[in-house]
Structure formats: structure tokens, C-alpha cells
Symmetry: C2
Subunit: 215 residues, 2 copies
């Protein structure tokens, strides 16, 4: 017979595994069926759990969806979010910006993110909360990180700007817009090749620094 | 009894009216039901014509959809597409760019365009031809117009650039991305107010000219 004190971690890790299975299954069901078309029944079946188990973990479809968006953004930005916030001039600001822009663009162009982004945009008229959740957890968080960094670089006299948030929007727009919009319209989820990445990130950094570097 | 020679124009204008009615009805049906959900039956009913009449005008749903995109883009860009292509320095290039950027942003932020853009993005994985049609008739045409203009301004020594198409992408990204993405995610189709328009267009032109003006 199992010691009740020792059983708890096992039970907890089973719960964690089930939660993970539900989230993975729900991602596929949402991306295949759309938000309206995805039923909690289908999600439970795909996850190999009962419907009450799904509801034990998530109050409703909306909460489940927001958790997926949150997790995905964590995977995409966690590795370098801190690097953006702590961006400092080590003697070659342009190089550092190019490195971070490349990480950002590669992260954003991951197939699951592209598919999820299309989904929330396609559903935004009917389910604006999905799109707001995506915007808030995704693009807005990256903008906030750049804003923090640019504000500090301006205080240090390296950048010249009066609206750090607007400068952050400009930088992100310059880096991401062309490849991201093209993927949105064509449904092509293949990541851009190295020469394309370089074309977008190098030129974005050049334009940004021409406008905002303190000379 | 009607003179047969005189009857033709009447018949033609009736055909034009029917075509117009089909396009208007189809726009609403597509935007409400999605591309997959919209049936030629529903479109015929909404237009008050028979299904064979719909097929007399449009070979299939795809062709009908492309015509809608084409018409919409014509409405949005026709008024100033020529102005972009013929952009010239009348002594205040920044002012001229701000005027054109404002027209472009206002055009793009029209509710029907926002709804159609969400639709094609949402369907791009399943129906990539819709998104390609939208991209080709819409953003790519505007980029082509800016490219023509920037190439000429560079030849005249006013801009300094080695890749006019990339400069055109940068300009369009700076002007449109923030308000357009926000509308995409939130489903909010209200046009931005004058102060917001001014914030985006003024700053976009400042950044663009800082990077590309020949000083």
C-alpha cells in the first residue's frame, strides 16, 4: 500500500500530464476546427480524458484557449525576452539589435504561431477576446520589452527619442511586417531562409538606427 | 413594341445591375459565413437572382471572391494610386508623404477592408489562393506604386537607397502595421481618429526620411 504522503507528487504529476495532454489536444482541435467549431467533447476525446476532467482544469473554452496562447508565447519569447529588456550597448549596438531581431523573427515565424495568429484574426469579429488575449500575451509583451530597453538606451544617451513605445512599435514593424503578412496571406508556414531573415533584420536595424540613434 | 436596336443597352445595363447585386450580396455572405460556408445558393438568394444567373457572371466561387477583392481595392486605392506613382517633390516632400500616408491608412482602415482581410487570413491555410489574390490586388499593388515613386525620387537625388522595393515595404510597414494589427486582433472596425492617424503617419514619415533622405 502506498504511503499517502508519497502518493501526492505522483497524483500531482499525473494531473500535470493530463493538463499538458489537454492543452496539446486542444491546440490541434482549435487549429483544425476553428474556435467556434471546436467542442470540449472533441478536445476531451483527442486528449484521451473525460469531459469533466477537461473542466477540472479549465473553466471554459475561452480559458483553455488563453492558456494555449500564453504557453506558446512563453515558448517563443521566454528565451530572449530578458535579453531584450536588458539590451545594452556593448560597443556594437547595431550588431546586438540584429541578433535580437533575428531571434524575434524566427520565433514569430514558427508554424504553430502562424496558424494560431491566423485563427485569432479570422475569429476576431465573432470572438474579440481571443484576439485581445493573443495581442496582449504576444505582440504587446514584445513591444513592452523593447520599450523598456529603448527608454534605458535613451537615458544613457545612445538613442534620441521622445516616445519609446512608438519607437518600439516602429522597430517591431520594420522587422516583422513583410515576412509575417506574406505568411498570413499565403498560408505558407515554412520558416524564411537565412538570406531572407538577414535581409529583413539588417535593413530594419539600419532604418531604426538612422532614425533614432543619437549622433 | 421596343425597337430591338434600342433594347440592347437596356439589357446590358440590367446585366450590369445584376452583376453588381451579385457582388454586393456575395460580399455580405462571405463576410458572414466565411468562404467555405458561403454557398452559391445563398449568394443567389441574397442577390435576388437565380443560381444559373450567378454562374452566367462568375465561373465559380473563387472567381466571384477575387472580383470582390479587386473591386474593393479599386475603391480604396484608385483615388490616390496615381498620386503615389506620380509623387514628386514640390518643395516639401515630408508634407506630401504625410498626405499620401494618411490617404492610404484611411483607405486600408475601412471596415469592409478590415473584415475582408480577416476573412482571407483566417482561411489562408485552407484556401491560399484567396489570400494570394488579396495580397496581389491589395498590399502588393500599393508597394509597387511606392517602389515606382521612390525609384524616381532616388534618380532625382532626393532619396538615397539601393533597394526601392524594400524601402517601399518599410514605408508601408511604418504607416500601417500598428493600427492595422490592432484592428485585426480586436475586431474593432471603427476608423482611427484624426490624432491617431496623425501620430502614425507623422512618425512614419520622420523615420522613413531619416533613413532614406539624401542629405
Amino acid at each position: 500500500m502506498t504511503d499517502p504522503a508519497a502518493a501526492k507528487p505522483t497524483s500531482e504529476s499525473r494531473s500535470v500530464r493530463k493538463r499538458r495532454a489537454i492543452l496539446d489536444a486542444a491546440t490541434e482541435v482549435f487549429l483544425t476546427e476553428g474556435f467556434a467549431g471546436a467542442s470540449m467533447d472533441a478536445i476531451a476525446t483527442a486528449a484521451g480524458v473525460s469531459k469533466p476532467t477537461v473542466y477540472n482544469h479549465f473553466a471554459d473554452k475561452q480559458q483553455l484557449f488563453e492558456q494555449i496562447v500564453n504557453d506558446l508565447v512563453a515558448v517563443i519569447t521566454q528565451p530572449f525576452y530578458e535579453q531584450i529588456v536588458n539590451l545594452s550597448d556593448d560597443g556594437d549596438l547595431a550588431k546586438r539589435l540584429r541578433e535580437l531581431a533575428t531571434l524575434l523573427l524566427k520565433g514569430v515565424m514558427q508554424p504553430t504561431n502562424l496558424r494560431l495568429r491566423r485563427l485569432v484574426i479570422g475569429e476576431a469579429s465573432r470572438f474579440p477576446d481571443l484576439g485581445r488575449a493573443y495581442e496582449q500575451h504576444g505582440p504587446a509583451r514584445a513591444i513592452a520589452a523593447w520599450t523598456t530597453a529603448f527608454k534605458r538606451l535613451a537615458n544613457e544617451g545612445l538613442l534620441r527619442l521622445h516616445d519609446p513605445a512608438l519607437a518600439a512599435e516602429h522597430f517591431q514593424s520594420l522587422v516583422l511586417t513583410t515576412p509575417l503578412n506574406h505568411a498570413m496571406f499565403t498560408g505558407d508556414d515554412r520558416p524564411p531562409g537565412a538570406p531572407q531573415l538577414k535581409r529583413y533584420t539588417d535593413s530594419a536595424v539600419d532604418v531604426f538606427l538612422a532614425a533614432y540613434r543619437n549622433t
